[in-house]
């Protein structure tokens, strides 16, 4: 019991605390690929630290919904972090929410983000909210379909059970998982506001999606949102690892495997982050109305993967 609670706290804190590091690593890799020196992997921490110290400036007409939304987003992302197994499958809280609830948590955070963006009533805020909801409402079904494929293999929608089943049963190659993995990568890019759907580094007003939503935020609210997006990126990486590269994650009650699992996790994340940076450097941002095609492809790939399973 105590060891499970410890395992729960450890894994959640690990994701929450190291999320900015992963973001820093991706940014650093991208800088290297673009032949720049980069700000170092610790830069996101410095930015958060700076933002937390500043005085918050709110628009005159901002309501309490606007002020509470960053906290809700942050809480949702931490909750997601607490149900995704990254080091060990011993997660007592994971019984409270399965993969469908996980998608629901992402959606809840997004709903608050979009509503908060509309709250001040600026042109860019509502434009960002509309685009974000559009991308999300096409990405969400694709994500659920991606998650259903391993769920059908493992006969369970609980993430810990899926990982147990995929990592610790005999090794079987499922072609449908390959489809699901490609679809998942596409959805993850869209949901995390990365190129080719959105550009996290953009400040060109008319192309923004996620950045347009948070234009009115400053100081600690902005810090919480930035941190929440960093955790979201880590969560998506963790889900991807758990579903498609689960080897190395320690089983329940297997404490001896934890150090190895940690080491394997770091290697996977380093490679994944570098891969993301490479992908972002090589591709260009899509026009906003090409995004539905991109997500439609992901959706169809995911459905195909599920159908292959039925054959």
């Amino acid at each position: 019991m105590i060891s499970s609670i410890f395992s729960q706290l450890f894994q959640t804190l690990l994701i929450v605390m190291l999320a900015p590091l992963l973001l820093g690593w991706v940014n650093q890799c991208r800088a290297w690929l673009q032949n720049k020196r980069g700000a170092g992997v610790l830069q996101p921490y410095r930015i958060l630290h700076k933002l937390f110290h500043k005085d918050a400036v709110l628009a005159d007409n901002a309501s309490s919904l606007f002020r509470s939304a960053p906290y809700v987003q942050f809480a949702c992302m931490v909750l997601v972090a607490s149900i995704v197994p990254i080091v060990a499958t011993d997660l007592p809280f994971a019984a409270a929410a399965d993969v469908i609830a996980l998608v629901g948590l992402f959606a809840l955070a997004r709903l608050f983000a979009a509503l908060a963006a509309m709250d001040v009533g600026t042109a860019f805020g509502s434009m960002g909210a509309r685009r974000e909801m559009l991308v999300a409402s096409l990405a969400e079904p694709a994500l659920l379909m991606v998650l259903f494929t391993p769920a059908l293999i493992a006969h369970s929608t609980s993430l810990t059970t899926i990982v147990e089943a995929l990592a610790h049963r005999e090794f079987v190659l499922y072609p449908s998982l390959a489809f699901a993995a490609v679809a998942f990568a596409m959805v993850a890019l869209a949901e995390n506001a990365r190129i080719p759907v959105d550009n996290p580094a953009t400040h060109l007003e008319l192309t923004m999606i996620h950045e347009a939503m948070i234009l009115e935020y400053s100081a600690r609210h902005l810090a919480l949102i930035e941190w929440a997006s960093a955790i979201k990126l880590s969560n998506y990486s963790a889900i991807g690892i758990a579903l498609f590269l689960p080897w190395g994650i320690a089983g329940t009650g297997d404490l001896g495997a934890v150090p190895l699992a940690l080491a394997v996790l770091f290697v996977k994340l380093l490679l994944g982050g570098a891969g993301l940076a490479l992908l972002e450097t090589l591709s260009a941002k899509l026009r906003i109305f090409r995004a539905p095609e991109f997500l439609g492809t992901a959706f169809l790939l995911a459905v195909l993967g599920m159908l292959l399973l039925e054959l």
Binding site: A96, A101, G104, A107, R130, L134, F148, T157, P292
Partner: protein, 675 residues
């Protein structure tokens, strides 16, 4: 005193219900004493009606676990007295009716305004007769009483819809509603006719006992699907919903959308599972496909609406689609003798019915308050109401989260259960079905995700941002009776979301009755905290822990940020990338918010665009997205009917001897048959 308690506690639930029905009718009639006395009707009659609703819900709750009760009233036709029967299925829908109508009635109590049409007394009569008729529909145990109650329901709601009958559009909307309601009634009548199988016995007991072969059973099912589908708003019989709901006063829209649509679902379940003995899997496929089309159609059209009540009406179509998908899945599993899965799908369906009753009523009532305080229904002229109407706005947020299907509120639970049922399809023996169903699941998930988009539009455009018109600055919040009604419905959304195990154990009585299996018992095995689909390893979800987690994290983060850093705030003008001259008209309008959907799903709409030429002095741009079915199906039929009736009208001369001749010929013709 003892005898009084004996009488009170000796009463059967069905007696209590008959009492409530009578009480409602009496309340309605009492309103005619002083039809213009707002105090008397608003502060006495309607709260009493709400209490009646609560008693009805309580009696229904008591009856769910009990044995079926019957009653025969000394009314009706000479050899066909009114039969009534209260079983778990009726009881569940009566709980839904009572609980939702309690909130709507108490809200109605505060809804009257001086000098508004119709007179409160007249409205109260129609309203309470409507309630009573819906209760009788759910209790009826013979086709005659059912049809009488069904028609009373249709007529009383017609008068409620057309209560502002001086406006021509409202009269048109009412006519369309009445027309489709009667088309449906014909279907239901024929369906009962087929089921009595030539024996002439119209009691449901006789129908239950008779066995129909596959052909006639299927005919019955299709007729029921048509008849009840017209009332529920299943494609392509949905056209009345977006017309009638905006026309009706908001409490009536709430009652029609939240409760009356469910009477149609009740009827469909009653005929399919209660009266027919065998079910076939292809019925399920039909229901599944129709439900899917309805859901996707509803949500797409909801996304492009600019009238807030029309938007909600289309969203009701979407929800009915999802409910029909659930019924379809139940039928498929049931036909393949996969009892536990059929029970799971049915539980999801029923759960969604009661969820929809609560959140849709809540949102319709919210539009009522917005309408009263702003006199504006168009989304393009609202905005920023959260600052003047905080009560309504925050209660509406609960409804928005619930209807968007987000945890930890109620909409998520039923969608979770439905998706779990979808995930169980690999156990189907038919490979064709197990290929089809995942595709269906994908489309249902798309509909659910788009519903989130629609609800952000609904909430964001009405309550957030800056007021788009100056008059909105004087908007006032709901009065205390309205708040009470809204609060009751919002509480229902939260309670249904947080206590799924309790709800499922109650739903077990219904699923046991219809499919012979239960889900709640297995759900309860892992404790009240966790709801599980079939087993704990398979899937579990705990809304209470979920909420606890979110709230703890919120407080923790808040306290940590305050403690470690500070809570200082300054106010300033909005930044908006340094753009200095911002006006409220630069925000996204309802059209703007719906535009991406219009563009992506363009083939599904009939889009009319009016583009100004470059040299236009007063340029005017208009883009209208309309229902293709209206032009492809309804208008041709209407033209055909007109042409036929023109032909037939040549028979009409207005001369009495020719009419006498017609009578004579008819008589001869009939004599030929009877010999």
């Amino acid at each position: 005193m003892d005898s009084l308690t004996a009488i009170l506690f000796g009463l059967l639930p069905i007696d209590v219900m008959l009492g409530v029905i009578l009480f409602w009718v009496t309340l309605g009639l009492l309103g005619l004493i002083a039809p213009h006395h707002m105090r008397f009707i608003g502060h006495i009659l309607f709260p009493l009606g709400a209490a009646g609703g609560l008693i009805l819900a309580g009696a229904g709750f008591a009856a769910m676990g009990a044995r079926p009760e019957t009653a025969v009233l000394a009314l009706g036709l000479p050899d066909l007295p009114f039969h009534m029967r209260l079983d778990a299925l009726s009881a569940f829908f009566l709980v839904l009716l009572g609980a939702a109508s309690a909130g709507i009635s108490i809200y109605s109590a505060g809804y009257f305004r001086e000098g508004e049409e119709p007179a409160p007394g007249v409205y109260g009569l129609q309203y309470h007769v409507f309630l009573a008729a819906m209760a009788v529909v759910m209790l009826a145990d013979d086709a005659y009483l059912f049809m009488v109650a069904w028609e009373t329901m249709a007529l009383s709601s017609y008068f409620l819809v057309t209560s502002k009958h001086k406006i021509p559009e409202i009269r048109r909307a009412g006519f369309l509603y009445l027309l489709i309601a009667h088309l449906g009634a014909i279907g239901i009548l024929l369906c009962f006719g087929v089921m009595q199988g030539g024996h002439g016995d119209y009691t449901f007991a006789a129908m239950r006992a008779s066995h129909l072969d596959e052909f006639w059973a299927s005919v019955t099912f299709l007729l029921a699907l048509f008849g009840f589908g017209a009332k529920a708003g299943i494609l392509p019989l949905h056209v009345w919903l977006p017309e009638a709901h905006p026309a009706a006063p908001s409490p009536v829209s709430a009652l029609m959308s939240g409760v009356m649509l469910k009477t149609a679902i009740y009827g469909l379940l009653r005929v399919t599972f209660g009266l027919l003995q065998t079910q076939f899997s292809w019925w399920g496929v039909v229901a599944l496909l129709l439900g899917l089309l309805t859901a996707l159609f509803g949500v797409m059209f909801a996304a492009v609406q600019t009238d807030m009540k029309r938007l909600l009406a289309y969203s009701s179509i979407e929800n009915i689609g999802i409910i029909l998908v659930g019924i379809g899945l139940t039928l498929i599993f049931h036909a393949y003798a996969l009892g536990p899965l059929a029970a799971l799908a049915l539980a999801a369906t029923l759960y969604h019915c009661i969820n929809h009753a609560f959140f849709k009523s809540l949102l319709f009532l919210v539009t009522g308050t917005v309408l009263h305080s702003t006199k504006e229904r168009s989304l393009g002229k609202l905005g920023g109401l959260i600052r003047n109407m905080p009560w309504v706005a925050w209660l509406a947020l609960i409804g928005t989260i619930a209807i968007a299907g987000l945890p930890p509120l109620n909409g998520f639970v039923s969608e979770w259960l439905l998706l779990q049922a979808f995930l169980a399809t690999p156990s189907l023996p038919s490979s064709y079905l197990s290929m089809l169903v995942p595709v269906e699941a994908a489309a249902v998930v798309l509909a659910i995700a788009l519903a989130g988009y629609v609800m952000v539009k609904f909430y964001g455009v009405i309550f957030l941002g800056r007021p788009r018109e100056e008059k909105l600055a004087t908007a006032h919040d709901a009065n205390w009776l309205e708040r009470l009604g809204l609060g009751w419905l919002a509480l229902g959304c939260v309670a249904l979301g947080l206590a799924p195990v309790f709800v499922l154990t109650q739903l077990d009585h219904v699923t046991r009755l219809l499919t012979g299996y239960t889900v709640g018992v297995s759900a309860a095995q892992s404790g009240w905290l966790f709801v599980v689909a079939t087993s704990l390893e398979r899937a579990s979800y705990s809304p209470a822990l979920f909420l606890l987690g979110i709230v703890t994290m919120l407080l923790l983060v808040f306290v940590l940020v305050r403690k470690r850093y500070h809570g200082r705030v300054r106010r300033g003008p909005a930044w908006d990338c340094g753009y200095a001259r911002q006006t409220a008209r630069m925000q996204d309008t309802a059209e703007g918010f719906g535009q991406p959907i219009k563009q992506i799903f363009e083939p599904f709409f009939r889009i009319e665009r009016q583009m100004p030429s470059p040299f236009d002095e007063h340029p005017r741009y208009q883009g209208k997205a309309e229902d293709k079915l209206w032009y492809a199906l309804y208008l041709p039929i209407a033209r055909l009917v007109e042409r036929l009736s023109l032909r037939i009208s040549t028979l009409q001369h207005g001369r009495i001897h020719i009419y006498l001749l017609y009578s004579f010929v008819t008589l001869l013709f009939l004599l030929l048959f009877t010999r």
